[in-house]
Amino acid sequence: MAQEGQQHPLNVYYRIWALLFVLSFFSYMVDYINVQGPLRWTLILVFMFLKAGFIIAIFMHMKWERLALKGAILLPPIFIGVLIWLMAIEGEHTWLTRIEFFGESTFVPQEVHH
């Protein structure tokens, strides 16, 4: 199959296409109706991963590739996961020492003008 390349009924694409629009709209709404706190994060991440998932799986045809290729491409980013995890801790750590020894920032933000 791989030889004739990836051929799939068009309406698969149409459906995903629509779906992406909806999801983007939702994630936009998260900001528009100004959800805050943990819920905001959950929603943002959920919509983000759904969108990313569909693009990779359908538009980039990963769904129809063989498991070998899937694994080879999707596993290495685990290392990035470790980096993100540790860098988040590190950022927090740096921030703490700053607050403790240099005190709160004295920056006075300006209003955004349109």
Partner: protein, 229 residues
């Protein structure tokens, strides 16, 4: 392209056994053309690039003691009335998704050897991409001229806001622009039958498509982490 691919037409096992089978086979491990395999590996490498950019952004943002400007205000846009948060970004997002759709269709048409449709769909994709870059340019100028955001500082808060914004969106914008050129080149060759001479093989369209979808993919993350956080 690779005849090797054409030779093993026998049905392959799936799942874990498939993986073992593929990696223990001779000649080739992935049942995809070379160009596609290479593009996938390149995209993996590129993923690491963008991830590092975003990790850097996350770190400086978390470490910043100065207040972080509130994106949904900074990027709000007002048409006469009171400003609508992130509206331009939303539009850009929809444009990019649309372009992904047209691209996906182009790939499909390519495999159907429908050169005309493929060509026009690819051109449409490129145009959408170009308009995305255009809007980005508009967004940048607005930010620089009206909000006074500079790479080295801004009136609303931590200097890293501008630094990270211009760097990340700039790098993404360069990817889009490169993609537009790439698409147009391939589209043109589809039109003038360049690939017919090479055994009417249109994987190249899918390869270009992979790149384009990746650019869209990156935007999904930028949108979430930079604009919505």
């Amino acid at each position: 392209m690779s005849e090797a691919a054409a030779t093993n037409a026998e049905v392959l096992p799936d799942g874990a056994r498939g993986v073992v089978r593929d990696f223990s086979s001779d000649m080739q491990s992935f049942h995809v053309p070379w160009g596609k395999a290479m593009m996938w590996i390149f995209l993996l490498s590129d993923t690491f690039i963008f991830s590092c950019f975003l990790v850097g952004y996350m770190h400086v943002r978390m470490a910043a003691t100065d207040p972080w400007p509130y994106p949904s205000e900074v990027f709000a846009l007002s048409f006469g009335g009171d400003p609508i948060p992130l509206i331009l970004i939303a539009i850009m997002t929809f444009i990019l998704i649309t372009s992904s759709g047209t691209m996906a269709l182009a790939v499909n048409m390519g495999y159907r050897k429908d050169r005309k449709k493929t060509f026009w769909l690819m051109v449409a994709t490129a145009l959408l991409g170009a308009s995305f870059v255009g809007m980005q340019a508009f967004e940048w100028t607005k930010l620089i001229v009206e909000e006074g955001v500079r790479p080295w500082g801004n009136p609303m808060g931590a200097a890293q806001f501008g630094s990270a914004f211009f760097m990340i969106t700039g790098f993404h914008g360069m990817h889009v622009s490169a993609g537009v050129i790439y698409l147009l080149v391939v589209a043109n060759r589809v039109r003038n039958g360049f690939y017919e001479k090479r055994g009417g093989n249109y994987e190249i369209v899918e390869i270009a498509g992979l790149y384009w979808h990746f650019v869209d993919l990156v935007w999904v993350f930028i949108f979430a982490f930079f604009y919505l956080w």
